[in-house]
Structure formats: structure tokens, C-alpha cells
């Protein structure tokens, strides 16, 4: 039998206006307990005002081994960047 409590990934919003950010993981019996533990483990010095938790097994991740091919389509699309477009110097603030 697996003696471990389920593993949760913890995301913290440090203040309003910012995204939740991954900070690490911890073990808990259920999501409520994961939130309470996350408060004690990851916000002892007011590092957060909002916590998200999700069981690690429920996360689907891209495969780093495919990343060359996977992200390649964006590589040659320089026209998606503002500097691709030539404008005379007289045009200010654009």
C-alpha cells in the first residue's frame, strides 16, 4: 500500500494584479488540507493572498523531448514582432 498522502502542486498569487505562480508541492489528504498546509509551508511571511492547489497527477505536461519541433513553428514568424515593420524615424511613439 502507498503510505503517502496524495501530492498536490501549489500555486500562489503574491498580490492582486499578479498571476498565481507555482511554488512547489506538498502532501495532503484532500484539497482543503492542501490549502491549509500550503498556507503554513509557503506563506509564513505574507508571500501570498490567494492559493490554488491541484493534485499533481491531474496535471498534463508537454514533453520536453519534443520541444524543438513543438515550438519550431513560431521560430520563423518574425512578422509577429513590431521590429519587422520598417517605419521612418519621424513617426514617433509607435
Amino acid at each position: 500500500m502507498n503510505k503517502n498522502l496524495p501530492l498536490y502542486e501549489i500555486f500562489i498569487r503574491s498580490k492582486n494584479g499578479l498571476h498565481h505562480k507555482h511554488v512547489g508541492s506538498l502532501h495532503a489528504s484532500d484539497p482543503q488540507m492542501a490549502i491549509m498546509n500550503a498556507r503554513d509551508v509557503y506563506t509564513r511571511r505574507q508571500e501570498g493572498i490567494s492559493i490554488w492547489v491541484i493534485e499533481s497527477k491531474d496535471i498534463t505536461a508537454s514533453n520536453p523531448e519534443d520541444s524543438d519541433a513543438f515550438y519550431a513553428p513560431a521560430e520563423d514568424k518574425v512578422y509577429r514582432h513590431p521590429t519587422f515593420y520598417d517605419l521612418p524615424d519621424e513617426v514617433k511613439h509607435m
Binding site: N2, N4, L5, V23, G24, S29, D30, R44
Partner: protein, 315 residues
């Protein structure tokens, strides 16, 4: 020519890139990290014991609050580190089993007893001071989750060292008996603190590989020297004497030369024959076993809640 996975990995390291959990890595890199990170986690956990011993006997409420917060931080450090180790595929319970069975090591410093209140000052000042010296370079370790955990840890350590030094300072400015207590604590903690950096470089065969992998950035002897150079003036400020007759400033290098470390003692403690090895392990096992019913009850409650939820859904 097609590069092998191993070569590509080393190139990434040489570009000072970080390795993340799902990236390919050599087995030996993974094993080295699992061993180092879990030992580090165990040290944080066992490290709570010598200090926890004095929480109920702290001389004032101010000291008690500081010490409790510090010990709680160490629990947190253990948890950040176990979490980092788990990203390498090792289960939390496996690591606990290794600690509790005596198979895994932890920092030998925690096998010394805390005899007086001054020991709490000496630990914060010297032991946390040495830990900081070791941990700051680990913030740039090549393994991402370990490096990120160390950033959190280092942010918190600075208060640990300051609270320890403040305890020492208060004792040193107190009665002659109190100052003698501080001196006695320094006498007992000085050499074990120097041992915290590990064997001399010549006796440390894994250092070279760890440095090639950017796990380690400085050798044991380099870090130990820095620690001595940093700490000697602090002892002078306190007005107590470092228990080393050979300690002397080298005017040319600006480094302090220090006496020979008793490595026999170090290896004895590492092998389990320190003054408190048995007590520390027994306390860990007891805490773990006596907490079992809490974990079981929490799981039973979670299952019940889920069953209820499922029933409500199908009804």
C-alpha cells in the same frame, strides 16, 4: 556529428542552463541529486530537535517566539527540499524510511547536545551561519527545483543567524557567568561547525563531478575558509575566544589560518557514534509513528467526503 544525450546534457550545463524535472539527465546526475537533496531535507528535519529542546525553557517570551519561528522555518525547509527531491521520482515515504532506518545520513552537527541556553545562540550564529555559506551557492545549482527551494531557504536563514548572534551578544554583555556560558558554547560548537563543510577537498572524491555538473560551485575547503574568515571578527566583536591555538591571520592573503580538524571525530559521528545519534533518530521515528493515526484519519475523512460527493452526483 550527432551528439549523444550525455554530451547535449553537459553542453546545457556548460551554458549554465537549468535542468528541469522532465528533461533528460544521466542516471548518475539524478542519483547524486536525490542523495544530496534528501540528506539536506533530513538535516533540516533533524535540525529541529536540538533547538526544539529549548523552546519550553527560553528565557523570555521574545526569545521563545523567535526560536519557535526559527524551528518552524526549519520544518518548512525540510518540506521545500523533500518536494524538490520528489520531482526526481523518489517517493516521500521512501525518503522517510531511509532516514528512520538509519540508511540515509543527515548533517552530523545535529548529533551534538544542546546543554545550555547559550547553545541556542551558538547554533544560530555558527550552524546557521555555516549552512548559509553552503546554501547560497546552491541557489545557482543546475537543477531547477533544488535551486528554487534554496532561494526560499536562504531568504529565511538570515533571521536565524541574526537571532542566534543576538543571543550570544546579550550573554556576552551580561554577567561573567553568562559570558562564560557563551564561551563554553563556542568552545563546543566551533569545531563541529567547521566539519559541516565536509571532508577536505583531497578526501572528497565526488566534488569534481558535482562541480562539473554545476551542483556545487565551490569546494568544501573554499567554503570552510570563507566561513572562518567571516566568523573570526564576529567572535572578536562578542569578546569571546575561538578555541584554536593555531588560529592566525595571514597578512598576505587576508585569510585566517586555522588548526587541524579532528576528522576521526567527524567520521565517528557520521557512522552513528556521536553523542546524540540514537536520541535524534528515536525522536524522529517516534514523531512519525505517533502521527500515523492523524494521517490515517485525514485520509479516511477525505475518502468519506468524496464518496458523499459521488453519491450526491449520481442521485
Amino acid at each position: 556529428m550527432e551528439l549523444s544525450l550525455e554530451q547535449k546534457f553537459q553542453e546545457k550545463i556548460d551554458r549554465d542552463e537549468r535542468i528541469e524535472p522532465r528533461d533528460w539527465m544521466p542516471d548518475s546526475y539524478r542519483k547524486t541529486l536525490v542523495r544530496q537533496i534528501s540528506q539536506h531535507a533530513h538535516s533540516e528535519l533533524v535540525g529541529m530537535l536540538p533547538e526544539g529542546n529549548w523552546i519550553s525553557r527560553a528565557p523570555s517570551l521574545r526569545r521563545k517566539l523567535g526560536l519557535m519561528a526559527k524551528v518552524q522555518d526549519e520544518a518548512g525547509h525540510g518540506l521545500y527540499l523533500y518536494s524538490a527531491a520528489e520531482t526526481l521520482g523518489v517517493e516521500r515515504d521512501t525518503m522517510f524510511d531511509q532516514l528512520h532506518s538509519g540508511k540515509a545520513k543527515y548533517s552530523s552537527i545535529f548529533n551534538y547536545p544542546t546543554l545550555t541556553w547559550a547553545d541556542i545562540g551558538a547554533i544560530g550564529w555558527l550552524v546557521d551561519g555555516a549552512a548559509i555559506m553552503n546554501q547560497v551557492p546552491l541557489c545557482r545549482c543546475s537543477y531547477g527545483p533544488y535551486a528554487r527551494a534554496m532561494v526560499r531557504v536562504c531568504k529565511e536563514e538570515s533571521f536565524h543567524q541574526r537571532q542566534g548572534f543576538e543571543i550570544m551578544l546579550t550573554l556576552c554583555q551580561g554577567t561573567p557567568e553568562q559570558k562564560a556560558m557563551a564561551q563554553d558554547a563556542l568552545n563546543r560548537w566551533w569545531w563541529p561547525s567547521l566539519m559541516m563543510f565536509g571532508p577536505n577537498d583531497a578526501e572528497s572524491p565526488n566534488t569534481k563531478q558535482s562541480m562539473a555538473w554545476n551542483i556545487k560551485r565551490f569546494s568544501n575547503d573554499e567554503l570552510r575558509q570563507r566561513f572562518v574568515d567571516m566568523t573570526v571578527p564576529q567572535a572578536e566583536l562578542l569578546g569571546i575566544k575561538i578555541p584554536d591555538p593555531d588560529l592566525k591571520l595571514n597578512e598576505e592573503t587576508g585569510n585566517y589560518h586555522f588548526g587541524a580538524i579532528n576528522w576521526d571525530e567527524f567520521w565517528q559521528v557520521v557512522k552513528g557514534h556521536g553523542p546524540c545519534n540514537k536520541d535524534r533518530l528515536a525522536a524522529r521515528v517516534k514523531a512519525h509513528e505517533e502521527g500515523a493515526w492523524v494521517r490515517e484519519a485525514a485520509m479516511a475523512y477525505a475518502e468519506k467526503q468524496e464518496n458523499r460527493l459521488n453519491k450526491a452526483k449520481t442521485a
